[in-house]
């Protein structure tokens, strides 16, 4: 395991080292997957990351992380995306870890961080509910203290990796009198606890990535509550720093552009100037998205905080990606409704999976409608 002072390293040297590792160690057949991979697909790769000491790039060194600065962390992510390295079920590393490190007790940290780092604990996130999607503050799942345990009742939905998870971190209502955003606490739950039922949900691709999780009198130790009671939502929100920029990364669109480029070549569309012009428009949209991303990334690298205007990235990234997958269907012509890998003259391309995956992109992570509402109020200062 390498523990080095990465911050002393020059940015370019660091970038090359990261790139080299991915190139050598990451399995070729898992590059740029057309859909989300499961733990069974990625656990060998995760093991390599653990051995290298690179499993938690954003965690401080004392907890086994790489202790990267925002600037270096961004380079790490950029290289991941450039090489097409798939996400593992990484909710524990990316979302939970930083939250525990910031808000948990020393005991909690010792109890949960090491096995999470080693990949023994796989976490899923219990935030959304059937009637609290865009409107998280409306959540109904409640936890009542009974002795030294909380008793949880309710259900969570869109829970990615629920089928692979050993544990869940969950937002629950602990004070029904409080105003909507308040009265919510942050609890940890063992997925083996009696009363938990997982109903996998098939998506438009026909695969099961997320699930609905039912909690029926599920008991979890009171000392597994993180932070202060009724402050869960505020806490969870505060940790969205990197999430807010990475959800607006241009990589998805750039990968889509490469896929489209393959079809353009195979279908001989370079001889169709009308099509090529719309293709050029999209290329320019993606290029300008990358410029906008770079501008916010520079702020992070300089250690500044991102304002609410970073929401524009998510809107542009997801809507550009959608249009890209739509133009890809059109480019495929008669083959534009064929499933699986479709053989064109030169390449085989999966057209439909990215098209389907682009649909929820504008919905999850705060729907684009909500993002626009927020921008209108908090950035453009328009009346409520």
């Amino acid at each position: 395991m390498q523990t080095r002072d990465w911050d002393k390293m020059a940015d370019e040297a660091f970038r090359l080292e990261v790139r080299g590792f991915f190139q050598k160690q990451y399995p070729e057949h898992l590059r740029f997957p057309a859909y989300h991979l499961r733990w069974a697909d990625t656990k060998d790769w995760y093991k390599k990351l653990v051995d290298k000491g690179w499993a938690a790039p954003g965690w401080p060194k004392e907890w086994g992380g790489m202790g990267l600065s925002p600037s270096k962390l961004l380079i790490f992510i950029e290289e991941q995306e450039r090489h097409g390295v798939a996400r593992t079920p990484d909710m524990g590393i990316i979302l939970l870890g930083p939250l525990l490190i910031k808000f948990a007790t020393e005991e909690q940290k010792k109890r949960f961080l090491p096995p999470t780092l080693r990949g023994e604990y796989i976490w899923c996130q219990g935030y959304s509910e059937p009637n609290a999607g865009s409107d998280l503050a409306n959540l109904k799942t409640e936890a009542v203290l009974d002795g030294d345990e909380y008793v949880i009742n309710g259900s969570k939905i869109w829970t990615s990796y629920a089928m692979d998870a050993t544990h869940m971190f969950i937002l629950v209502r602990t004070d029904k009198q409080a105003k909507k955003q308040e009265g919510i606490s942050f609890l940890l739950v063992d997925m083996k606890t009696p009363g938990i039922t997982i109903r996998p949900i098939r998506n438009l691709l026909g695969v099961e990535v997320f699930a609905q999780v039912f909690l029926d009198n599920v008991r979890t130790p009171a000392q597994w509550l993180v932070g202060k009671p009724n402050q869960g939502w505020t806490m969870a929100k505060a940790l969205l720093g990197f999430e807010r920029i990475s959800i607006g990364s241009p990589k998805l669109a750039q990968t889509g552009l490469k896929r489209l480029e393959a079809i353009v070549q195979s279908q001989g569309l370079t001889r169709d100037p009308a099509f090529m012009d719309r293709y050029t428009q999209l290329r320019l949209d993606v290029a300008d998205l990358a410029s906008a991303y770079g501008r916010f990334a520079d702020l992070l690298k300089r250690g500044e905080t991102l304002g609410p205007d970073v929401s524009i990235l998510k809107i542009v990234a997801t809507e550009t990606f959608q249009r890209l997958t739509e133009l890809t269907l059109e480019a495929a012509g008669d083959a534009g409704a064929l499933g699986g890998k479709v053989a064109f003259r030169k390449d085989s391309v999966d057209i439909l999976s990215p098209f389907y995956n682009a649909r929820p992109a504008t919905i999850y992570g705060g729907s684009n409608e909500i993002q626009r509402n927020i921008l209108a109020k908090n950035v453009l200062d328009l009346p409520g």
């Binding site: 865009s134 098939r202 009308a274 012509g333 008669d334 534009g336 649909r359 929820p360």
Partner: protein, 370 residues
């Protein structure tokens, strides 16, 4: 017009009865990714209702009606998402045969097609696709067919009308399934149906199988493809209408932030824009049917206008319906996805929106547009 309207209303009512009694979304789900991908018993019911023979003249056992009646049935039928290949067999294939010049073959096949006993498919596109029926790579030489056909639907037909290039220009042969040298592979489509990829390796054909040749074959192919293209517009109209209805209903009942989402102005305006696209689709199809009833000469142009608008509108309504449904719209268990997928299939089939926009530009000199 009034008699026509009565006729169409009766036909539509019949489809409504069929929709309530003979099919359901559950049945549609059941048949996905199965072989042949549709229910032969339901196909029999459809034939008994006469729909397979709507556009076949009475002398060949059909109803002898026209595009307007077929459109009325297909629009309603499409709302049910039934995978039975009504347009492909009763319009695309049957009409190609009818417009051909082999009277004996017509007498032999058309009554069976009308009665549902024979399920035909037109194999006209080459493996690269494209909508010009005369861009033929498949060859007819020495009494045999050689080449490949793609996007053939239904894939599992009782016989295929195969177009090919011969020494004397284009030809159209009836090739029964099981013929030596004919093999069918399958490609799955977004909606869970499958289309065929046919390979012909010296598949023997005789003159009695020659449905049309030369100019007659070219004209028959073009006209049948145009008719089916126009009818695909009617199907898309049915699919988008139903998708929009479902979405509007969802907007009325789904509550977020304490209010039905249909009360949010931004979503309301989005729904209105979808409604407008649906109304434009309806209007151009209506206009096409009125004009073609009076003067059939503009068929290709009208088919392209209709297919362009309906493909674009169908795709857009499909996509945005998913968006308006939010997370649930991305799940397979929500019906709205089935409508989007059918719209995707119908939109790509017989030339997508962009393809027909290009053809419209080629067919219509700019001055005539206004």
């Amino acid at each position: 017009m009034s008699q026509q309207e009565d006729q169409n209303r009766m036909l539509r009512d019949a489809v409504t009865t069929f929709a309530a009694r003979d099919t359901s979304i559950a049945r549609v789900r059941e048949l996905r990714d199965s072989a042949p991908g549709f229910d032969k018993a339901v196909w029999k019911t459809i034939a008994e209702l006469g729909w397979t023979g709507i556009m076949i003249p009475e002398e060949y056992g059909g109803m002898g009606l026209g595009l307007s009646e077929m459109a009325a049935v297909l629009e309603e039928f499409a709302k049910t998402l039934s995978p039975e290949p009504l347009n492909p067999s009763a319009v695309l294939a049957a009409r190609a045969l009818l417009h051909g010049g082999n009277e004996a073959l017509k007498k032999k096949l058309l009554p069976g097609i009308a009665s549902g006993e024979i399920l035909p498919a037109l194999a006209w596109q080459e493996s690269e696709g494209g909508i010009d029926p005369l861009a033929l790579a498949t060859r007819a030489e020495g009494g045999g067919l050689n080449g490949g056909k793609r996007f053939v639907f239904p894939a599992d037909a009782d016989g295929y009308l195969v177009s090919a290039q011969s020494g004397n220009g284009p030809v159209l042969y009836w090739v029964e399934k099981g013929t030596a040298g004919l093999t069918v592979e399958y490609e799955s489509r977004a909606d869970g149906t499958r289309c065929g990829r046919i390979t012909l390796r010296n598949a023997k054909v005789s003159d009695s199988q020659l449905a049309a040749s030369g100019k007659t074959a070219g004209a028959a192919l073009q006209r049948a493809v145009d008719e089916a293209t126009l009818m695909a517009g009617a199907e898309l109209l049915g699919v988008m209408s139903r998708a929009l209805e479902i979405t509007l209903e969802y907007m009325r009942i789904r509550v977020q932030f304490g209010k039905p989402i249909g009360s949010f102005q931004a979503l309301q305006h989005r729904a209105v824009d979808l409604f407008i696209q649906k109304e434009l689709s309806f209007s151009v199809l209506r206009d096409a049917l009125l004009h073609l009833a009076a003067d059939p000469s503009g068929l290709s142009l009208w088919a392209s206008r209709v297919k362009y608008r309906c493909s674009e509108a169908g795709m857009r309504i499909g996509r945005e319906s998913i968006q308006i449904h939010g997370g649930i719209g991305f799940t397979d268990e929500c019906d709205i996805g089935l409508y989007m997928k059918r719209a995707m299939v119908l939109s790509a089939w017989l030339g997508n929106g962009a393809t027909h926009r290009h053809r419209y530009a080629a067919l219509a000199p700019a001055e005539a547009a206004a």
